[in-house]
């Protein structure tokens, strides 16, 4: 009886392994194509992405936009990457976008434009928090969040639900800025 079963069993194994080979071949092809797109975006080509694309490709696009100060276009990509479910890519996406916002805020502050800087710092802090929620051991996010925290401190009454920034927050900003006004006349 066992010997009779052998041929159908072999056919089953053959079919299953052929199906697996086909699956892996298709996946390998798709991954290779996406890697070519990632390389192209990293090289500086302005290629649009689709929400259904894999997280790594969306992240390459986000990095491209964030490093070119196109923050408004980058924001929806973060949500798409977070929804894709790849934790390490989601952490990197929150972190890179927060970095871009913090860099923009510091540039505003160095030019003495305080008002546009504050919301950027607050959004950057939120991004770092989201990254740390997903990965509590992410030291670069801790460090940059610490920088953002000293630019605009958290206030107990502010972070409960308040959307409006009390005027003293803006006034206190400079007292919390330990190193920025370098060499003002």
């Amino acid at each position: 009886m066992r010997r009779r079963l052998a041929v159908p069993l072999i056919l089953l194994v053959l079919g299953a392994s052929l199906a697996a080979a086909l699956y892996f071949a298709v996946r390998l092809g798709l991954d290779r194509r996406d890697n070519a797109l990632i390389a192209s975006i990293t090289a500086g080509h302005d290629l649009a992405t689709d929400p259904a694309d894999p997280a790594a490709l969306l992240f390459a696009r986000l990095h491209f936009l964030a490093t070119r100060d196109r923050l408004d276009e980058a924001q929806p990509l973060v949500q798409q990457i977070a929804a894709a479910g790849d934790r390490s890519v989601a952490v990197a996406a929150f972190y890179d976008l927060a970095n871009a916002r913090l860099r923009a805020a510091i540039a505003h502050l160095e030019a003495n434009r305080i008002d546009p800087a504050i919301p950027l710092v607050r959004l950057a802090k939120e991004g770092y928090r989201r990254a740390l929620t997903l990965d509590p051991g992410f030291w670069d996010a801790k460090y940059n969040l610490d920088i953002a925290m000293r630019l605009v401190r958290d206030f107990p009454q502010l972070d409960t639900e308040g959307e409006e920034i009390p005027p003293e927050a803006a006034k206190r900003l400079w007292t919390d800025l330990p190193g920025v006004p370098k060499g003002l006349p």
Binding site: R3, V7, L57, T67, P136, K142, I147, P156
Partner: protein, 304 residues
């Protein structure tokens, strides 16, 4: 590295016996109380022992949420160990995350929890004590190092998708498919396996089927001859009708077909020595010959 902080609460329990007699003990196990920086996760464990029939009120458990502007409760997981030795034990695992950015080491407190136990009618409060830890800064207050004071840590660069896993899977599944195909070919006697000396009936069966497509007497003879050659090859010497008992002795697997094989040898005696091809075909018609060849092949393969 875990500290036991239950003493104070146990004292409180003893001081007010009527109100909390049903709560046997509440113990808080905590990690080191110092050296936490912004973003660190802190795992606390609360061990609760109740007197039956009291059970922990699930509605009083904390839900993961922001407790303060700097403190989040990330996870609250209750494990019910059931009643053993007259005590109902629970373990409550709590994971907090501190988001406080101190300028110097600062003591921060995780507030206690007010849980409740119930036996259906009465309610008893269970107080989990507060816990405090030292939070440390990451950076100096005024930068004294070289370089810009607010230099950010660098971005994470985009990385390509890892293809090694898919490649390994492709290689492994292709090898598996090839192995299965080879095994199948060996089983069925295809390709190079069909010509092996050890499978003469496989070849003979093919010859018989091919020869009997043409329903002439010479084709019938060719088919008979092919089967005879297969018997010869299997036995390693010429097999005549008289040698059949010895053949079945040496190859007992073929004994199942003894009657048909005897008919085959009778038919071939008629066909070759009696010059009576029609009689031979009456003795063993062509379809029976094909069926016999198949059976012999199956026996030889071991799948009969």
């Amino acid at each position: 590295m875990r500290t036991r902080l239950a003493a104070a609460l146990l004292l409180a329990t003893l001081a007010t016996p009527p109100a909390q007699a049903q709560v046997r003990s509440v113990e808080l196990y905590a990690p080191r109380p110092f050296g936490y920086v912004i973003g660190d996760a802190i795992a606390l464990t609360v061990e609760i022992a109740l007197d039956p029939p009291f059970v922990l009120d699930a509605a009083s458990l904390p839900r993961p949420r922001a407790l303060d502007y700097w403190l989040d409760l990330r996870e609250a997981r209750l494990t019910d160990h059931g009643v053993s030795a007259g005590t109902h034990r629970y373990t409550l695992d709590l994971v907090y995350q501190t988001l406080y950015a101190p300028l110097e080491p600062k003591r921060l407190a995780i507030p206690g929890l007010a849980l409740a136990a119930t036996d259906g009618g009465r309610r008893v409060a269970i107080d989990v004590p507060a816990w405090s830890f030292l939070s440390s800064p990451l950076r100096e207050i005024v930068s004294t190092g070289a370089g810009a004071p607010m230099a950010l840590r660098p971005d994470i660069e985009p990385r390509p998708i890892a293809t090694a896993g898919a490649l390994r899977g492709l290689v492994a599944s292709t090898l598996a498919a090839l192995a299965a195909l080879a095994l199948l070919a060996w089983r069925m006697g295809w390709g190079p396996f069909g010509r092996r000396q050890r499978r003469p009936f496989a070849g003979a069966s093919r010859t018989v089927r091919a020869a009997l497509h043409a329903s002439s007497s010479s084709a019938y003879r060719a088919a008979l001859l092919a089967l005879h050659r297969a018997f010869d090859a299997t036995a390693g010497k010429r097999v005549l009708a008289e040698d059949l008992p010895a053949f079945f002795e040496a190859h007992p697997a073929f004994r199942a077909t003894e009657t048909e094989v005897c008919r085959l040898f009778d038919a071939s005696r008629r066909a070759f020595f009696g010059e009576d091809a029609a009689g031979a075909q009456g003795e063993l018609p062509a379809p029976d010959l094909v069926a016999l060849a198949r059976r012999l092949r199956a026996i030889e393969r071991g799948t009969a």
